[in-house]
Symmetry: C2
Subunit: 421 residues, 2 copies
């Protein structure tokens, strides 16, 4: 009897998390000789626990599956559900009974570090009870902070959105030449500055905005910052500064904490808000110039207008490759990217020679780790980004994707359970 497939999404969405879903589903549906029903779990492992699943085949027949490729958000819904550390917890047999009920042989989970933690625990428990279910993680995160992979699907589109938007805001900010102004743009990324670093891609010429870029990897010194802003304003009337939401003093205190209260999410992460607002007030008070702060906010992960064609292609391919690997017997693995060309610093970009090999890596070595931007890629006392990053990031934002529209705005796929009856 053919085994069935189940796929879920977990954690925050990206612009291409549904492209990865498409990759898994398309590939699995194309292997009907080997595989049974392809299920989607609604709201991740948490929804699966209450039997919220759907058959994905009708989506292919209706054409909805194609639309999923350019739909933001998590088509299947998401969760932030952390499985217990203790593999003797009663939830594990309960989950595996459900796997048996639905005759699941292949389990795919699209997500970031926390989702890989789920894949790790399920595959370890499976090994403990000698289950033959295959557990594969498909990477996604706009933060680009997964280890053992060159980069992560979702990052390229977010980086393209950040670079484009920073360029547009820079142009908008420069219309009043005769008034000195500072625009502070706050970009997502708590501990890893990859996305904030992408703002350097907006720079058109040497000295162009964003003139100053601050990542969480380097301790943020308020006095040094004010000094840098003062000097930059001498040559750039309308200064644009990009900061990560997670800039901190190097001793564990986020800059935004200096101004506001913070909460903690289910995974114990600090919930941040307002580093940009804090610095806006600081600059206003200290330098007396016109200041505006802008949070790029969730648009960084949900804008369909800046999907990178390369990112979409890789997201689909990593989903499809996951199915292939599972069928070849792999389990407890995450799909990873190895860049086969090496970037030598000094070349302007490596776009011509960019090539990715899809591989699998041990999910246990990936979950709960964070890959940060190499310190040697951060320049000018932590206020700028070097050429190595440009070579690294430029191939990832290449190519545009046409999003279907209806009545003048993007047309997206909607899960039936979200629609009225």
């Amino acid at each position: 009897m053919k085994k069935n497939v189940i796929v879920g999404q977990s954690g925050g969405p990206t612009a291409v998390i549904n492209a990865s879903l498409y990759g898994v589903v398309y590939e699995a549906l194309n292997r009907e000789e080997t595989l049974g029903t392809v299920y989607g779990m609604i709201n991740g492992i948490e929804g699966f626990l209450s039997d919220q699943i759907m058959d994905m085949k009708p989506l292919e027949l209706s054409g909805e599956l194609e639309l999923i490729k350019t739909t933001p958000g998590s088509y299947l819904g998401s969760c932030r559900y952390k499985l217990p550390e203790n593999l003797n917890d009663e939830i594990y047999p309960k989950l595996f009974e459900k796997f048996a009920t639905y005759n699941i042989g292949y389990f795919f989970y699209i997500g970031g570090n926390d989702s890989m933690d789920t894949v790790s625990k399920l595959s370890r428990y499976a090994s403990q009870i000698s289950s033959d279910i295959h557990f594969i993680g498909i990477p996604k995160t706009i933060d680009n902070d997964l280890v053992l992979t060159d980069h992560t699907p979702g990052f390229g589109s977010a980086a393209k959105y950040v670079a484009s938007t920073v360029r547009e805001i820079t142009i908008d900010a420069s219309v009043y030449d005769n008034t000195k102004s500072v625009t502070i743009i706050e970009i997502m990324g708590r501990h890893a500055g990859w996305l904030t670093a992408s703002s350097v891609l907006a720079r058109k010429f040497e000295g162009d905005n964003p003139v100053l870029i601050y990542l969480p990897e380097v301790a943020f010194d308020q006095e040094a910052f004010i000094e840098k802003v003062k000097i930059a304003l001498e040559t750039t009337s309308n200064l644009v500064v990009c900061i990560s939401e997670g800039i901190n003093d190097g001793n564990g205190t986020f800059i935004c904490e200096l101004a506001s209260d913070v909460g903690v999410d289910t995974f114990g992460h600090k919930m941040l808000t307002g580093s940009g607002k804090y610095l806006e007030n600081l600059v206003k008070e200290r330098l007396g110039v016109k200041v505006r702060s802008i949070e790029l906010n969730v648009c960084q992960r949900c804008s369909s207008s800046m999907i990178s064609k390369m990112d979409q292609k890789e997201a689909i391919a990593s989903g499809a490759y996951g199915v292939k690997c599972a069928l070849e017997g792999e389990t407890g693995k995450m799909i990873a990217f190895h860049r086969t060309n090496t970037n030598s610093a000094g070349t302007s970009t490596s776009m011509d020679h960019y090539q990715i090999d899809y591989v699998t890596e041990d999910v246990n070595l990936i979950c709960n780790q964070e890959k940060t931007v190499p310190l040697e890629w951060i320049t000018h006392d932590g206020s700028d980004i070097g050429p190595e990053f440009l070579s690294y990031a430029q191939p990832l934002i290449q190519g545009e994707v046409t999003v279907p529209t209806e009545n003048g705005i993007p047309k997206f796929a909607y899960r039936k359970s979200l629609m009225p009856l």
Copy 2:
């Protein structure tokens, strides 16, 4: 001797203010038999006073003029410079001497209410001294608040951006089905709610988000708001509320003023920030649910990713029509749009029959006026938008524009003076 042309831009930019510039310049350059040099004034009338002008012809030859059509910001730079009310002020003869120096016969100013005030004063002074210079205003504003015109170039693209982005944020906000949440989206518009009303275009089906929409035209009652949110959360787990930055208590106090200090800009307008943030805290405190507030910010006026093809077409046409009218002897006029089909409430959209006539209107009747959303288009005790608005707005957001890219991000036109030597 042929008279020269000068064109300037003033006030805040829109996604198509440069399309109007293109319209003026393209049309003027095509009338070489009648017109002399076509100048652009850098940073509006303020820059012109210090002789900051440029010859626009080379842009046509270099191909840069085509690129201007899809470039956000004000290509020529902008100003917020209010001419004195007293036409006997010494600045007027000074300006007209400069017009004489540059042999200006035709003056075009692309802007909103405040810019039309400039056109009004210059044309009245011209009449007073029997000058034969023609002064024409070309409308632009994302706020859509100019009177005597069906709508204003810049509004359609901003509305398309708002509608698309609200739809994307709604999808993003709905991924965690099992947690009740409120997302408050703050949209630009101090006194006129046109742009906030456009968020209704994001609604895909009856009951879809944004469920609640609040404009500045109706007094905002905090208790009634909390009650509406509470009721809406019973049927919509992940509620999206759209509010105008200018929601107020109906007695002149902006909601954001309840929380924060405000400044005043050169024109005496109150500078606003934070209605969304204020309501975020209010909902959190009163209802104890997860709340996030998002300011769409300047992206509403500078995003090139959501330029409406219809808006761009009309922006270009209004610039070109301005040149035609000036050559026919008109002065002290603004180009306006008359919609020749009438919207009857109840028809779903009027897109099939949408047609615009370009006309001229007396600029003196337009400047310093504000057109707000008709109260009868606002429904449900001021918390929703009726079908009349849909019929009105839908034609304005139709069609997509392809923006040229370089290295994966949009390629924009840059004025030489902003580039390094």
